[in-house]
Amino acid sequence: MRIGVFVCHCGNNIKATVDAAYITERLRDDSSVVCSAEFPYLCAEGGQKLITEAIAEHNLTGVVICACSPRMHETTFRKAAAKAGLNPYRLEIANIREQCAWVHKNKEEATEKALSLAKAAIAKIKLSQPLFPGESRVTKRALVIGGGIAGIQAALDIAEAGFPVDLVEKSPSIGGKMAQLDKTFPTLDCSACILTPKMVDVASHEKINLHTYSEVEKVEGFVGSFTVTIRKKARSVDMTKCTGCGDCLAACPVKGKENRKAIYIPYAQAVPNVPAIDRESCLYFKNGKCKRCEKACQPKAIDFTQEDERITEGYGAIIAATGFEAIRLDAFGEYGYHANKDVITSLEFERIINASGPTGGKLVRPSDGSVPARISFIQCVGSRDATARGKPYCSKVCCMYTAKHAISAKEKHPEIDVEVFYIDVRTPGKNFEEFYRRAVEVYGVRYIKGQVGKVIGENGSLRIQAMDMLENGRYDAVTDLVVLAAAIEPSDSAKKVAQMLSSPIDANGFLSEAHPKLRPVESATAGIFLCGMCNGPKDIPETVAQASAAACKVIGLLVKDQLTTNPCTAKTDENNCSGCGLCAEVCPYGAVGVISHSTAVNAALCQGCGGCTVACPSGAMNLQGFSRAQIIAEVDALCG
């Protein structure tokens, strides 16, 4: 075999800790290595040229690159190799940046280890085979999970490009959190006014198939060819008959949380405008008696016998847009959220000032319906809190929505005294700082730097005890309404969705992007994309931008008719196979079939995990690109 070795300096990233010249020199000791060179940046054009020219000049049959992680540039280098006529699977990477230069301090040790890793890669490449990717068909339909502004925007963009989209939303209406907001910072345009038209577009778009009150139950397959089972929960209302008149709501005698009836429409502009019966609070489902809604319904749309329905559909790509929740405040007893009616969260404040909310937009206290004389906003409730009850990150939108709330309160009742307790005010965004300054300078909102220690109920009012860090003293005063900016966390179903999609989540439960800078809307799993708050705290403009970006990636995938498949698949050696079928039992993809005393792998289904190779008792199954001999050669090289 004729092997070429190329050692990257990565500027000083590698060179400072690994002696690149020494490695380049020492690797020549291997008689198969016919050329060995170092270069400042192999990934740059000049570096790639060096490799392609060497392949031609030395007639190389194998290449080893000593550089950064293969997760970074394997594709780059394999493409370069292919351009020079070398089978791309005859190229291996020794990861001497992430695994040596960046994690070891001692140059001698880092260099020795880098040399070992390079030798292991050479040992592996010596046993490599040329591999050829197959092709798989692309199902030209997309699935979007979550119907907040993120999912709505993504679905609309994909549909506009001409591809059918299914949008699955777990609640009875799309819209997500944005539908609950009153106005939006920093322009103060009405949230419903900008969202409702988009919701209507979704409902009426001929390419969009909307599944509300539905959840994804099972995901199988791979990029270009996913098979998904969707459970449409029993709504107890026939969507084809319902006219959205609302007579049933008036007839329902149940009064639940936020005055919600057992049969309900989440909010006035809901899409679709069809109610659902919450079977847990409905008297008929609980006691077998009532049915007043059924009597009130003229078009006879109420259907108590409806059952969950399951549909199975194929998709080429999937977008996760499952959004966020505010954290539960059980562990934050000092703010008295559960003890006092007049301590509320920011989302509840949005509902109170919203014209279509429970008070019709009147800014009044939940306890007695009076207009508060003073409102105290408390920032960072659980955000930037590294203790077990909190979240270590900044929730990003709270500084801005609190400035918005303060301005809204002042606009409704200029005489209200508004104060904000903060750790830092963060306003990085177009027109954000100006917006915050307006709250202070034009509206006279008082900002107090300090954390609140306690909120105590006192004669129908609330007492706040805090530290005022700028005045260097204790703050102790009475207020009428306390609004808590509760930290943002991923929606409770995000983990389940991530598991179904084999899409990694980060330490805080947000869905991870494949690369934080360069692949911000792709998941590490091919064909799975993400956008909106499910990926981390974001405001609406960022969410919309990310949604359109994800849609763009999906469109780029769906326009293709075929995808090339990973050729690192399992392969049976018929001479050693007894047809016992243990391999087929462990395969999660049903890719192995047992045929008359032997087995055969369907390369289009095989994803290359290698489970079957280990399960095989006779060594008849092998994984191309990670063969038994190759891994043992690596072991020997590292242990030698």
Partner: protein, 148 residues
């Protein structure tokens, strides 16, 4: 004495966790050398025994957390096979502390670095693995029986 530790890392979680340890510049001992496999279920017991036979003093197999496997069920098989391998090592009279199975996700760079430092220290305490290097068949019946 310098111990040699081989780490098998699955491509999707643990290898990415090691990369994150790198990008975050978290230092761990250079004794640890990584072999990339698509899934922890690709790690054949034979690879581990081969490593011990060729002079590895410790072997650690790292995969995605249970329930998070990129290939849905791969790490269940890993868990099960490693359990029987621990039994085999005991039968051979090899210290069980020389082998470890660990779940490390792509976001757990710190866990990767800490685990490697801690495992290396543990192997250093045991010292070099001399019993089964070279030709492990040489182990006498008595020695093998001792380990049960």
């Amino acid at each position: 004495m310098r111990v040699n530790v081989v780490a098998f890392c699955c491509n999707w979680c643990s290898y990415a966790g090691a990369d994150l340890a790198g990008t975050s510049r978290l230092v761990y001992p250079s004794n640890v050398k990584i072999i990339r496999v698509p899934c922890s279920c690709r790690v054949d017991e034979a690879f581990i025994l081969r490593a011990f036979a060729r002079g590895a003093d410790g072997v650690i197999v790292c995969g995605c957390h249970i329930g998070d496997c990129h290939y849905a069920t791969g790490n269940y098989h890993t868990r099960q096979r490693m359990e029987s391998l621990f039994g085999l090592l005991a039968f051979m009279g090899m210290e069980r502390e020389r082998l470890r199975l660990e779940w490390i996700s792509a976001s757990e760079g710190a866990k990767f670095a800490d685990t490697m430092a801690e495992f290396t220290a543990q192997v250093e305490k045991l010292g070099k693995n001399e019993r089964y290097t070279g030709d492990c068949i040489k182990a006498t019946d008595a020695e093998a029986a001792e380990g049960i």
